[in-house]
């Protein structure tokens, strides 16, 4: 029994070190690299172009500043909310995402000098009769979480008597207005103007109010060097005309009509096949990431699960209690909560960054591992206790009896559950999109953010998942047959 615990802690400890201890890919270059988080889509400030490269005012600005000031940036497009949490937990060094400077935010962020001024406007569906705030009484308004448009809407919703519905990304907000679920939405004027001009199907009906400034942000009291560099760089860019060029590039007449044309042109090439072709490389890297998460996740979850399961059948009350507790906790926690906790919560406690992929693997290991542990334990317990007694009565020690007699029979009972759990693991990787891992689901979200082809892209993503699951099932069945014979 002691041997078991030692063995357990050795393997688990090793696996843990192997994942967590992985160097956080810090390139030892002469130039310092800063990790900057941003939104998934917030055109014209940040969005993915047709090659899935992140572009926009914010992207060009931060890169130009970096060049001027001699540092490197690694961009993490993880969504506005996730970005805020990532900065607060220290997972990233700063964020630039069309973020308004507010007194509220100043409590937890240090902001750069403003790099853009914008105001909040209301937009409605083309052809809608709603033109003023008064007409919103009793209606629903769509907003995006954490934005100043949302703050503004919330601040006036009592006064004008409307309800709000919140989304994580701008496209869902616009979609909700277009489908008529919501009658209006509030967002920054630059964003909505850009959207309207590029054929969003919405129109702006109010003047910009609540004007505010956009700033680059770091965690309060941290990364002051970076903040100073940004301010210095911004000043220089304004002086040498680069700043004006960038703004003109994204908000000038030419930019907007070019973008409009391209989206109109491609609208007739929005067949499934065309969409697949256009986004081939994005889909492939999304699939790769999903497969990596699945394979590595299954591997660690299986090791962890088997150890937890074995711990649960060792004749020791302490070991069994430990096993039951671990299963109870990690099976009980929603995967999404666990992922966010590990990715954002742990770094803010310990001060060490956890790369998203590693956080994802730890999440899968703990959650799927707990399920595996439960059925490994169940599978062993399902083997007639007489088998263990007969082995022990011959003088075989516990571990040998387990290995030679009980486990081989238990595994047969467990195999269908394993196959099932592998499939669930593959599907569960999609939840890891919340911590910004660019797996298949997140890839889908980003592509839709660009081309607004929600239905078709989700259909493609669904088919890809089904294909992967079919392959995984066939593979599992093949292994199952091999083990049974």
């Amino acid at each position: 029994m002691k041997k078991f615990i030692v063995w357990f802690s050795l393997v688990f400890g090793f696996a843990f070190i192997a994942t967590v201890g992985q160097p956080t890919q810090q390139v030892e270059a002469s130039e310092k690299t800063y990790t900057i988080a941003t939104d998934v889509t917030f055109p014209p400030f940040v969005y993915a172009n047709s090659n899935n490269k992140y572009v926009g005012i914010d992207m060009e600005l931060i890169k130009a500043v970096a060049k001027k000031e001699g540092f490197k940036v690694e961009i993490k497009p993880i969504g506005f909310n996730a970005a805020i949490q990532a900065v607060q937990s220290g997972q990233v060094d700063g964020m630039i995402a069309g973020m308004s400077i507010t007194t509220e935010r100043k409590k937890t962020f240090d902001f750069s000098n403003p790099y853009y001024s914008s105001g909040i406007v209301m937009a409605v569906k083309k052809g809608s009769k709603v033109t003023s705030l008064k007409q919103l009484k009793g209606k629903t308004v769509a907003i995006k979480t954490g934005t100043s448009g949302a703050d503004y809407a919330n601040s006036i919703k009592k006064k004008y008597g409307f309800k709000t519905v919140t989304f994580d990304d701008s496209d869902s907000v616009y979609d909700d207005v277009k489908t008529g679920n919501a009658v209006a939405c509030f967002d920054d004027s630059a964003v909505l103007q850009y959207g309207v001009k590029t054929g969003l199907g919405l129109k702006i009906v109010t003047k910009p109010t609540d004007t505010g400034n956009y700033g680059f942000a770091v965690r309060k009291g941290h990364n002051q060097v970076l903040l100073n560099k940004f301010n210095k760089g911004l000043k220089a860019l304004k002086k040498d005309g680069t700043y004006a060029k960038i703004i003109e590039k994204y908000t000038g007449k030419k930019a907007v009509s070019a973008q409009k044309k391209s989206s109109e042109n491609s609208s007739d090439s929005y067949t499934m096949l065309a969409l697949l072709k256009q986004n081939k490389s994005a889909f492939i890297s999304g699939i790769e990431e999903t497969l990596w998460l699945t394979i590595v996740g299954i591997l660690f979850a299986t090791i962890f699960g088997i150890l937890i399961g074995l711990l649960g059948v060792v004749p020791s009350k302490i070991a069994q209690g430990l096993s039951t507790t671990i299963i109870y906790i990690f099976r009980g926690l929603p995967l999404i909560v666990l992922a966010l906790f590990i990715y954002n919560g742990i770094p803010s406690l310990t001060g060490t960054k956890v790369p998203a992929f590693v956080a994802g693997i730890i999440t899968l290991t703990l959650n799927e591992g707990a399920y595996i542990g439960a059925f490994v334990k169940g599978g062993i317990e399902a083997v007639d206790s007489g088998q263990m007694e007969a082995a022990r009565s011959l003088g075989l020690p516990f571990s040998k009896s387990m290995r030679k007699v009980v486990l081989p029979q238990g595994i047969k009972i467990m195999i269908p559950s394993f196959v099932n759990q592998f499939i669930i693991t593959l599907k569960d990787t999609s939840i890891l999109s919340v911590i910004g891992i660019l797996e298949l689901t997140q890839t889908g979200k980003i592509i839709i953010a660009r081309n607004l082809q929600g239905f078709r892209i989700w259909a493609i993503v669904a088919v890809i998942y089904l294909l992967m699951i079919t392959v995984l099932t066939l593979l599992s069945k093949w292994i199952e047959r091999r083990i049974k014979n």
Binding site: Q387, A390, R392, S393, L394, G395, L396, K404, V405, Q409
Partner: protein, 246 residues
């Protein structure tokens, strides 16, 4: 060291508030065959299972071959190598062939090489009359055949003592004879045996001593004809009446 192969003194076993063994004194001499009888729930299986510590005794001492196995300092795995056990439900390892069942312990515990173990397994199968079943899976055997394999498996470790817990109760009547025959042979060869059974014929023919248990106590013991034909204890009489009438 001791003149007794098995020497149990004041053995008590509780399951919570349920006192199953209430102070048992029980001795088995070298080469002796003892048959344990008694009504259901009297604690026969519990006593037998304490003898190889499948059950942890609550108090008392259990000395086997001069070694007190109730002490936690005793290496119980080593001690069990010398105590063979045969179960009511055979408990053959379902994931192994008959041959592998028999060879597992000798090989794993380093008693013999693979070749030796194989030769020994074949010999043992021959003694129990199943030499052609070496490669068969347990699931393909009849109950009587399974039990004979189980006996062969226990014998493969060359134990000094064999414990049998109702070895024939799960068998169809026509299978019982074969298994009892194997056990009789074993007794003739001088094996020390403790047998829980309801086969009174076997007890009369083979046992050196019969021990009657009831309510967690030894009520009466003696030579078979003495216990069966002239029982002293009321409980023994009542029990025998029932068994013989059935």
């Amino acid at each position: 060291m001791s003149e007794y192969k098995v020497n149990v003194t004041n053995l008590k076993k509780n399951y919570g508030a349920n006192h199953v063994l209430k102070g048992i004194d029980f001795k088995v001499a070298n080469n002796e065959v003892v048959v344990l009888i008694g009504p259901s729930g009297s604690g026969k299986s519990t006593l037998l299972r304490c003898l190889n510590k499948l059950e942890e005794p609550t108090s008392g001492s259990i000395v086997i071959d001069g070694q007190d196995i109730s002490l936690s300092s005793t290496n119980i795995d080593k001690a069990r190598e010398n105590i063979g056990m045969v179960f009511q439900h055979f408990n053959l390892f379902n994931n192994m062939t008959v041959g592998e069942n028999i060879m597992l312990a000798p090989i794993e515990l380093g008693k013999s090489s693979k070749d030796e173990a194989k030769k020994q397994a074949k010999d043992l199968l021959e003694t129990v009359g199943l030499s052609e079943k070496f490669d068969a899976m347990p699931s393909s055997l009849s109950g009587g055949q399974k039990q004979r394999v189980a006996i062969a498996r226990a014998l493969a470790m060359n134990p000094d003592v064999m414990l049998f817990d109702e070895p024939t109760s799960a068998l169809d009547p026509e299978m019982v004879g074969d298994v009892l025959e194997v056990m009789k042979d074993l007794a003739k060869k001088g094996m020390t045996m403790v047998v829980v059974t309801h086969e009174m014929g076997f007890a009369k023919e083979v046992a050196d001593r019969v021990v009657f248990m009831a309510d967690g106590r030894v009520m009466e013991e003696g030579k078979p004809d003495q216990v069966f034909d002239h029982p002293q204890n009321e409980r023994t009489k009542a029990f025998l009446d029932k068994v013989i009438n059935v």
